[in-house]
């Protein structure tokens, strides 16, 4: 499905490595299965040639890795950024989280990544091999002799179905052509929930959030969650671990998590991707983005470096908290 091929990326990385522009490469290597591809740092040509992979399962957003990576040593690090990753990249620069001088960013086009849970819904467990062709995924399982041929379109990750931009907003160099900001239907799902009754919404979120196992993966992967000390790590809070009796604590965790990134969330969708329980966390983030757009004017975090986030800004005629919901409801009617 990806137009850009693995070999083109390896070639680019090798040339930048050999001419000394960078001394290491942040890329992807194979995990235990073909679908759990892992971010990795390559320091030499040999490992790049052997271990570098690129397929429809390279969803990981590298921006956050740059924070720790740029602190490790002096040389530059080469990073491959998909269009949505470049927004996080800019947002982290806005927040001064890493040194731009230490990064060489190569923008790569993205045709949308595949969602393994959608693949598994079709062919079940026991996947032994996945081959990505131009428009298909050829999936072999240990239970069937004949491989499944799945149209890549049909297993596109949620965040890619509603892709907001094919445009790179930050790069040193681009492989392939740059795209445009896409008109997407990413707020449709949020609007659908808003139009439910309060009881229906409560039931929906109760069902979703009570599945949370508090693994904190959504927090750890989020490029906007970069505090070195997190309130949820406080062992004295009394609520740092999973409650069995009720689910308030998950609600609190998810409200605070989403609120903390409100106005800074670029809607990269990593939280939903890594959630082992498939909780649609992006619906919480998108709710904040939608509210911000409607109440305080259109704002895309990370679209440009140095823009002022809506929550650290104000105007004298902002709406009152009591009116916020009515104003939105009035719009819907």
């Amino acid at each position: 499905m990806q137009k850009i091929k693995r070999d083109a990326l390896v070639e680019k990385a090798l040339s930048l490595l050999s001419d000394g522009t960078v001394n290491r490469v942040l890329g992807w290597k194979a995990g235990e299965f073909d679908y759990d591809i892992t971010p990795a740092v390559f320091r030499d040509a040999e490992s790049l040639k052997n271990d570098f992979v690129f397929s429809d399962f390279c969803g990981a957003n590298f921006s956050k890795y740059l924070i720790s990576e740029t602190r490790k040593d002096e040389g530059k690090v080469l990073v491959f950024l998909k269009p949505c990753d470049t927004y996080s990249f800019n947002q982290l620069l806005t927040e001064h989280r890493f040194d731009r001088e230490k990064v060489y960013a190569v923008g790569i086009p993205c045709e949308g990544m595949a969602d393994i849970s959608k693949v598994k819904a079709i062919c079940g467990d026991g996947i032994s091999n996945i081959e990505c062709t131009d428009d298909k995924l050829i999936v072999t399982t240990i239970y069937e002799d004949k491989p499944y041929e799945i149209a890549a379109e049909s297993v596109l990750a949620e965040r890619c179905v509603t892709c907001k931009s094919k445009k790179h907003v930050a790069y040193d160099e681009l492989i392939g052509e740059d795209g445009d900001v896409v008109e997407s239907a990413r707020f449709d799902e949020v609007a659908k929930l808003e139009n439910m009754t309060a009881d229906e919404r409560f039931a929906f979120w109760q069902e979703q959030l009570s599945r949370c196992i508090r693994c904190n993966a959504c927090r750890d992967v989020c490029p906007a969650c970069t505090c070195e000390k997190c309130v949820f790590n406080n062992p004295k809070s009394g609520v740092e671990n999973k409650a069995i009796a009720d689910s308030f604590e998950e609600k609190m965790f998810h409200i605070i998590r989403a609120f903390h990134v409100a106005g800074r969330c670029t809607d990269c969708g990593e939280c939903s991707r890594v959630c082992p329980q498939d909780i649609p966390l992006h619906l919480l983030n998108r709710k904040f983005i939608k509210d911000i757009n409607e109440l305080y004017g259109e704002y895309q975090a990370g679209a440009e470096v140095g823009s002022r986030a809506p929550l650290v800004n104000y105007t004298k005629d902002d709406c009152e908290p009591s009116e916020a919901v009515e104003r939105r409801n009035g719009k819907d009617a």
């Binding site: 309060a198 919404r201 409650a243 609190m252 409200i255 904040f288 929550l311 009152e320």
Partner: protein
Amino acid sequence: MQVNGYKPLIVAFCCNWCSYAGADLAGNNRLAYPADVKIIRVPCSCRVNPMFVLRAFQRGADGVIICGCHPGDCHYTSGNYFTRRRMSLLFSMLDYLGIERERTRVEWVSAAEGAKFAATMNDFAEKVAALGENKRLEDLRCKR
């Protein structure tokens, strides 16, 4: 304040420079407001972290009200403007999760508005009492 024999617990975050003094004035003027309202003094309404609101609910509050200076009158020039944005988003999110709207409120009360303070608290306590116990944001671990 009782509705059908139910007494709510209300947490009011009051700005030191206005509403807290407003509460004082209400008391000096012998204006009655429900004893179920527990006031927590904060240096500015923007000191109220969204987590404070949720934590109050978690520990058994049935309603949370945040009182600050009128927009434009902040002791720190702009604190309450930030409160306004934050709480707009937080309340909208709580509504999105299906939590009753009337349980949360932001009200601007100056130090001279003792009567408004008492009226606001009476009205809020009545609305919260009518909603009954906070079930959707309770945490049994905190209710031992």
